[in-house]
Assembly symmetry: D2
């Protein structure tokens, strides 16, 4: 389907999926997130020429939340290499909730199973280079902006403060990692959490998210800028994690039903890619039981089926 056809058809798909927002609920555990309009749904699809098809509620900006974990993983890999990163986090899906501590306690040697669950993403945040939390955050923002094709993303300070004040479970996870020496002696837990909460609080809109997805879709090569921004190998790793555990513990179901690499966040955002073809950004704040946008997942599922996007 050509981009102009897609542009034309997109509103109908969005309309057909929007009602699935009723089956979800806006996340409330971070008070600031609870303000998002639960019945909205928006999407942008971008191809290699930078052309886009958009539809639905703009509802921009929203915070990246867990979507940011994909790009902090890439930055950590560029900063440290595979070996050092995978000394701190594993490569396996957990089957547990994203904030679960079960496997940290039950499975030796107590390192997080993968970089996309909270514990793993906190460990990854500790690996970003920089002399201070502020310096690390600045480098993260700079990288995200480059990945978004020269955007000017910024941190939503209200969300950051709200997360920082209420995310006791993440503190609990971080101190567990500290106890397990996944966070080393020289690492201050609150410093790591500050970096983590800040990159989760980066604001974005669907167009920018689609632009970031495009980079992954072309294996780290920016087709608009005409240069390799992230080594291909690291993007392959990231895409694999997106398939294995990008949609929390509904990743298997998403892989079966939609079949493309994606990463969701509790703000209701989803970054998805059709490898070699599209970068996609979706927002739909109402979440299902496992933390994914109900309307957003339905939209991607119906489009993937209709347009044969599956990678399997």
């Amino acid at each position: 389907m050509k981009m102009d056809q897609l542009r034309e058809a997109l509103p109908q798909w969005v309309d057909a999926s929007r009602i699935f927002a009723k089956g979800g609920k806006v996340a409330s555990y971070i008070p600031e997130l609870a303000k998002a309009p639960g019945d909205s749904l928006g999407i942008t699809i971008m191809d290699a020429s930078g052309e886009t098809a958009s539809a639905g509620d703009k509802h921009c900006p929203f915070t990246m939340q867990s979507i940011s974990k994909v790009f902090t993983l890439l930055l950590a890999l560029m900063d440290n290499g595979e070996e050092e990163v995978f000394a701190k986090v594993g490569m396996e899906p957990t089957g547990d909730d994203f904030n679960s501590m079960l496997k940290l306690e039950l499975v030796e040697p107590g390192k997080p199973f993968n970089p996309l669950i909270n514990a793993g993403a906190i460990a990854v945040s500790s690996l970003i280079r920089g002399d201070s939390p502020a310096a690390k955050t600045e480098r993260i923002l700079a990288f995200f902006n480059e990945a978004a094709g020269g955007a000017s993303l910024a941190i939503n300070q209200d969300v950051f403060r709200s997360e920082s004040a209420t995310a006791h479970r993440n503190r609990s996870l971080a101190y567990f990692l500290k106890d397990n020496e996944v966070l080393g002696e020289d690492i201050d837990v609150e410093d790591v959490l500050s970096v983590y909460f800040q990159h989760c609080s980066i604001e974005i809109c669907c167009d920018q998210l689609a632009r970031m997805a495009l980079l992954l879709s072309f294996d780290g090569f920016d087709p608009l800028a005409g240069r390799q921004i992230v080594p291909k190998r690291y993007v392959q790793i990231a895409k694999t994690f997106m398939i294995m555990c990008g949609m929390y513990n509904a990743s298997g179901e998403f892989a079966i039903k939609v079949g493309i690499p994606a990463k969701s966040g509790v703000s209701g955002g989803i970054l998805a890619i059709v490898p070699g073809r599209y970068g996609i950004g979706v927002i739909g704040p109402a979440l299902g039981a496992k933390g994914n946008s109900t309307a957003g997942v339905h939209l991607l599922e119906s489009m993937s089926a209709a347009l044969d996007w599956r990678i399997f």
Copy 2:
């Protein structure tokens, strides 16, 4: 790389990987399996024209063990459709051992997380049509033979008896499923286990395994027979599970490092596919800590890297 080049290069790859057998151990929990030669390694790669490249120890036949689960899943899907199958098993990787009962007890509603862990495969076995365990087993064998291009696979009765006599953990799993009503009132546990143990005990060799893999590689279309044997959608499902949980709780690592759909068995066999190109059968009886052939995984990893087989 053309098939004749592959044929020429293959022995070197096999030789380079064979030493990794030393890092593994032949499975002993089924006494009959313990007799396999631990230091052997063999592989067959087949393309759409039926041409093959083989190298290493023939060590044929070996029993399929968990590899059979992929094909009983396909048969169950053909017999019952998606809806009925996924009423009994889930779609998520577990992060736990293949014979773990944790999630069955901890996660409501107590159905197995996916069809490739033991609990899930037992549930799938219960869905195969047939008036008796013997009739079901016969249908399974007929389907496997068709998938293998008209082979004459048979059950290794010694292994079957050995498994049946010693696999108390599988009995424990099956009765747990019975208690959870995943196995319904009309289903006799020993009957289901008999079917399960029999399809695990089907003997095969690398050539035949590669032939079965070829069918998956072409989405259920047999390129040699020239006809669709399994609906494409069901093979997509099977391939997704192979990526998500085909290599037990080392599936994530395999996806990161090798990046192709595969399924291993405790006999040391691995069925792998390079979608649209090859079907692959590997045997290397020495297993690593997570139940996969150490030499076999190394062989696939080095070939995938060299020949760019990754799907991500």
Copy 3:
């Protein structure tokens, strides 16, 4: 309080506790048990002279269910000694449900935590001497009858058949024990379960249960027969387990609130002792969330508080 005073006061206590039956539900997982009248409550208290005070619904007989585990433990200790018994079961409360498999899988070496959870009681049943399940069951019945002062207890065949046909979770536990070699190579799982289901199905009434409790109250010495039936040490062990885990995973609460050794069963029976003073039998079929008779627990709690029965 003298026995005639107790006799006079007892009906009021029973009446005051009976309404707590409304907060419970008769067990239904063994279909035959579901027939018990949910609103009934009865009690017998017996002293060293054999005098009794009784009140409430006779509702006799009922099956012993888990209460039987205390006495099979005593018989297993007499048959094998402490060392052999505790080679098969541990001495710790679990904090888990009585039929949980979590600790069997998670805690090495996989033996049941104590003899009063199902897994432990099944292991204990395997230790009873006898050439066949029938012979073992006969010895158990003979011991129970002796402990009950020469009673003629019998197995309720309907309940036994009902349990045997439906207790798949117990089968699952037993095969797990078999896999862990807690049940040795020479032990047939169905044989052990047959013994286990039979002693759970022994019918009893409050008077007889109080008589059996009296034996424990006097540390294995039968004050009416004037002789030591069970070695004191073994009764001490049994009483300790009754305090630690006699009331499933509400044992701590019972110890805090009631403070006497007791053992409950899913039929709604409770055997309790006031050491050196009374043996007590209670029946109240409506169970709370953790499997104990709601009215029965309330009755014992109010009497223990009023009459200062606590051992702590």
Copy 4:
């Protein structure tokens, strides 16, 4: 046995038990604790007249560690009453390690199972009255000193700092409780931990510990001062918890083998009571796998057997 006989016999018991220190290891997770002499063993037994029998290494003072939890529970009960305390902590043993998070995550509503595991003791610390951590700690010290018959116990600042700096697992537990709202909105986690680490760091010697135990032995009545210091009901509760979970997840074994209420600490101290007769303080820094003094447990076991101390 009279006190002078006990005094005479005690050195032999101590000598016979001292070798069991070789089977243990001094705790090292709090660096300051690792300095204790691993092969030492000391004991003081005090009766209602205040007479004592002592033997072995004085090794005084040591820090109370988990032993303090019994007395902060008493103070919290006096400050808040039963209802409020048990709104925050449960009454059940866990079967898990003292610092486990499993049940906090797995069992709704996520409150700690009992006040003697770390999570529960942290919750209890939050209930001590006082306007500031310093004020709370002062009240705790004052109460401990009163319970010790007018002692001048003090906090070992080196141990306190060492614990505070390294106890990341306790921080993880505390933030988990905060997330579960066991620690309410108005409660600062570091404040609670400060109180908790300080009462764990109170220094004591065997004589003083025996004196504190004496108070429990007489149900809160101080037989030397001639007055009730703690309400009887609260001491009954404390004694019950000591039996159920005073010796970590070896409490069942201790109850079976020793049979008296006791509480151990990772410093190697044990407070034990023979109800109505003795208060006992023991120190033996070498710990077994489950965190109890190996030589200390052996000493109490052999004396309990010889002198018939069992409460069951």
